[in-house]
Amino acid sequence: MAYRWTNDLTAADVTPKSMMMNRRQIMAGAVGLGAIGFSATQAAAQGTLKPNSLEDITTYNNYYEFGTGKDDPAKNAHKLVTSPWSIKVDGLVNNPGEYSVADLIDGLDVEERIYRFRCVEAWAMVVPWNGVELADVLKKAGVQANGKYVAFETVVQEENMVGVQRRVLDFPYVEGLRMDEAMHPLTLLATGIYGEPLANQSGAPIRVVVPWKYGYKSIKSIVRITVTDREPPTSWNKANAREYGFYSNVNPTVDHPRWSQATHREIGGGLFAKRQPTLMFNGYEDEVARLYAGMDLTVDS
């Protein structure tokens, strides 16, 4: 079976190509809503966000497997082999196995979600993702009662990945979410942007998107989803625990040790763009704050 987005959703359904190339066009009229469990306030907020151009989104990336420069992934990620692709689903699930992307999202609605994307490096953009809710995929996998966390792993193709060769991080890149975070309706498994398949540098063929957390939590090009009963290791936390916590929620009141998180630069604003205030949970406070009730987010950051 072909991927659902090629069958059901083309660029024409979402955004005219001319508009998509034009960064500052307002997308409000073109937003494909109809999300399950998606509140009216979210929908309204989504409608006012102006997505960055596809060029911005695909030329300014962090994908350390392909180099540490912001333009390195765009230059090097063509080497990523995305077909065939299989995702191993294992751990505390009733239906473990190796799945193709099509199998993994079979029967689910691919929706457009326009989300803010906030990098820990204090820059931000707006991305019109196409994807399914991770919760629906996890329900299909059949999470067992003692499953408390979900761990993810990025592909390693060492011969194609200059960053892996240079040991920039301890690869494979791994990330994780607490079960309630993974099950939250905002959390996506994305397969496209602007109605087109994900560019390799954007994490093709399938990636996680968690819009209220710093970008590195939204792990790219996943080959493994593991349900576990304990907090899984995460790559940046392993590299520097003092700077990168497990939760990594966007939080303007907790600085990165080396820079302030109170404000950020918006990608595409040009050389004289004014810094913008960063919002708690990246603007998704109404939707996700309850997940962290009773937690001290300055400690569990």
Binding site: N52, E55, D56, T59, Y60, Y64, T68, K70, D71, E121, W123, M125, R166, R167, V168, L169, W236, A239, N240, P257, R258, W259, S260, R265, I267, G268, G270, L271, F272, A273, K274, R275
Partner: protein
Amino acid sequence: MTVANTINGALRKIPAWPIYWIVAAWTGWKFYLAATGKGGGPEPINWLEREYGEFGLKLLIAGLLITPVRTWTGINLIKFRRAIGVTTCFLILAHFLVWAVLDVQAFERVWMEVVKRKYVTVGMAAFVLMIPLAITSNNRSMRKMGPLVWRKLHKLTYPVAVLAGIHYLWLVKGFQIEPIVYMAVILGLLAVRLKWAWAKIV
């Protein structure tokens, strides 16, 4: 006549002043690219900051290379050293201004960053130490101070280079090779001088 002598002969005909113009033009050109969106990608502020900083670091190393090159090869580039030093300071000033004015965008926050963030503190220290060197780079200052005092003051270049190397090392995320290479070159060039100083004592 040795190769070095031939090269030195040719070098005598090349003036040092174009260095100032080339670096100034390069700085302006990069600014133009960033301001018009013709270069630097979707986020030109950070790009420009890094371009200026990295070129400054390269020039700093070029300045440190001049004496060892003369010792090892006999090629004498000393007449270019002042221009290299002054343009280094100019580039770091541009680096600082892009960071303070276009990136951080508020004076209180600039000061807060300098105090709070170690990598900014060392970078700022390197810049501040460069200023007296740039100010005393003219012939009048050299005469006024006398060669001994002048040379002593200009040994500040060594801590400047080390601080600049640390600034870059502390700035990056993950294990990145470039700042390590820069630091290794800087430390290597300083170690050579230590060796010479030691040889003089013994």
